[in-house]
Amino acid sequence: MPKLQLHQPQRQAPLGVIIMFFQNLRRAINFVLAVVVVNFGRDFSWLGMGYTEWGIIFAAFFLVYSFLQYRKFYFYVSGDNFVIERGVLKQEKINVPFGRIQSVNTKQNVIQRLLNLVGLKIDTAGSQQQEINIPALSKAYAKELRDYLMEKRYEHLEEAEESEEEISSSNVGQREPLLRLSIADLFKVGFTQNHLRSGLILFAIVNGYIWEFEEYLIKPFEPYLEETAQTFVGKGFILFPIGLLAFVIISVIASLITTVLRYYNFSFYLGSEGLDIESGLLNRNSYNVPYEKIQYFFWESNPLRRIIGYRTLKVKQAGSQAVNERKLIGIPGLKARALLRIIQMQYPDRKSGRYTYYRPHRLLFIQRLVWLALVPSLLLSTLLYFQDLDLIFYIPIPLFFALVVFLSYKYWRSIRIRVNAGYVEIQKGYVFPKRILVPNYKLQNLSLNQSFLQAWRGLKSFQFHTAAGTLSISHLPAEDSESLYNYLLFCIESSSEKWM
């Protein structure tokens, strides 16, 4: 076993020079790309040298610079701090107190995978988003360093709390993954993605790039485009279905590719200190979520996934909203039984104790009916009326109306909240069913809102604030929500468990 020897400054693995070279290169390419595109096809020369010469000079410069960066990058332990020193021109020293470490994750991008190196990333509980990143370590060393840091972190936390209670769940620390996605699973997950979303995201990205380089990509072809556009409009009725089909196919392919990239060889463990997730094809990432940072779980599905019975479990961690978006970790492709097993392991007493059920008032349905169905339909009809169009164009409107009413009704019926001594469980969504499970002691504070409309109907809206965001449920009967409010306050105030 290699020794860590952290009492004296350590450098990264020697191949780190290459990693740093590529990091610099990528930044440079982003910068230079515009220049190259502008001069595309033209001869470029400056100070008597063309593309090749300048390219070689830049590459040599970056190589030297990366080498210096590598030489100047140290990490070591001093006292209760993990220290990183780096920088060629501007020297930088980052101190990370062990107690502030939240989690240590490893990442591998394509180049790191090729060189068999690992990047280590340390998340801290600081508001300042300083990047604490060691990009090039050998695999064994990274693992050891990670374990060392996590161990130090726990030692430190225990010292601070003086808690005599050892982490009792150490027997859970088996290295047998709870879930591993096979290739078949991967394809199933990919095929059942929300294709509409992947299609739109792809469209947005492509659109963004096209307009960024409008000058060079579109301008030269403009006369030609206009001509074809004319003929396209003429054949619009035929082309529309073809375009739709193309959009669907491209979307499905896009979701398949993103799924494979993100979830290739996905494995999920319940470690002794937290959840461990490893996944990715080109960029191989590993996440570690300490148990006490988990605030709540939710699991969701979509119409396609419901057919094959797949759900995605998501873990919400403590942190600000922005951090949470980045850190929201999804565990896809779970069958009901596997999901229940994980939940059961996390919350063994979920089934004990009787649940009380609450449902929202029908005002919720009525409001959605008015704002999502009635108002748009009326607006559309008046628009058509003033356009003096044939009656045939009005046909989609009642269909739209009926569909929205149906979906609103189903949505309203799907909302349910149940509470017992230990947990709040919220269920909502008809097309995209979602279930949220929050242990009562993870709640931070509560709010009750009431608009004048709700006051007239005797309803209130309930808000649960947790360290991982706010959950809300509207239009609960006033007496119900008040008794729930008092009950949950009692639960929070009488619990002695640490929410983090």
């Binding site: 403590a318 600000s320 909203q321 007493d349 004990s352 104790g353 001594a421 230990g422 931070q444 504070n445 509560l446 709010s447 009750l448 809102n449 009431q450 608009s451 004048f452 006051a455 808000q463 604030h465 947790t466 360290a467 965001g469 706010t470 008040e482 008794s483 409010y485 008092n486 009950y487 306050l489 009692f490 639960c491 929070i492 105030e493 009488s494 619990s495 002695s496 929410w499 983090m500």
Partner: protein, 167 residues
């Protein structure tokens, strides 16, 4: 879990009743009206500039602003009755709002920190704010506005003491 075997009758639980709430200092109403009036004064300053040096008629902005100002009076007057706070041994609550009512309760064992502050206008009225922070995000933090300075300091110290006992 602590509560597992306990049979709890909802009617036995401590209830948070409207009558438990302490109303705010009357000065806080005047404070709010002054703050709003200053805001409207600023807007009418902008309007006056536009009218004096531009092409905008005085009537174009003066009447809407005046009617908004009168409406503000009425709303603040009625809304003030709904403002109040309540400190119990285990939690702090604050409520406000007439058309849109909001009640927030922070259990003291979830308080992250608690601070006291007083702005320039507050100094004029001798009013201060106690801010109670939790980990529940910005929208859930609790501000008790419109307290006398000495009361505010007392409230803050009280919350600090109780919350440190629970932590």
């Amino acid at each position: 879990m602590l509560l597992e075997n306990l049979k709890i009758d909802p009617t036995d639980l401590p209830q948070l009743e409207a009558r438990d709430f302490t109303p705010l200092e009357k000065d806080y109403l005047y404070f709010r009206i002054t703050a709003w009036s200053l805001f409207y004064l600023m807007l009418s300053g902008v309007g006056a500039m536009l009218s004096l040096f531009g092409q905008v008629l005085f009537t174009f902005w003066l009447y809407p602003l005046l009617s908004l100002w009168v409406l503000m009076f009425i709303f603040e007057r009625i809304g003030f009755k709904y403002r109040g706070y309540c400190i119990r041994s285990l939690d702090v609550s604050f409520r406000r709002g007439w058309l849109f009512h909001r009640l927030t309760t922070v259990p003291l064992n979830r308080v992250q920190h608690c601070e006291f502050n007083q702005g320039p206008l507050g100094r004029l009225f001798d009013l201060a704010t106690v801010k109670v922070y939790t980990a529940g995000g910005n929208s859930s933090d609790l501000d008790i506005r419109g307290l006398r300075k000495e009361d505010a300091i007392k409230v803050r110290d009280h919350i600090m003491e109780l919350s440190s006992r629970h932590a």
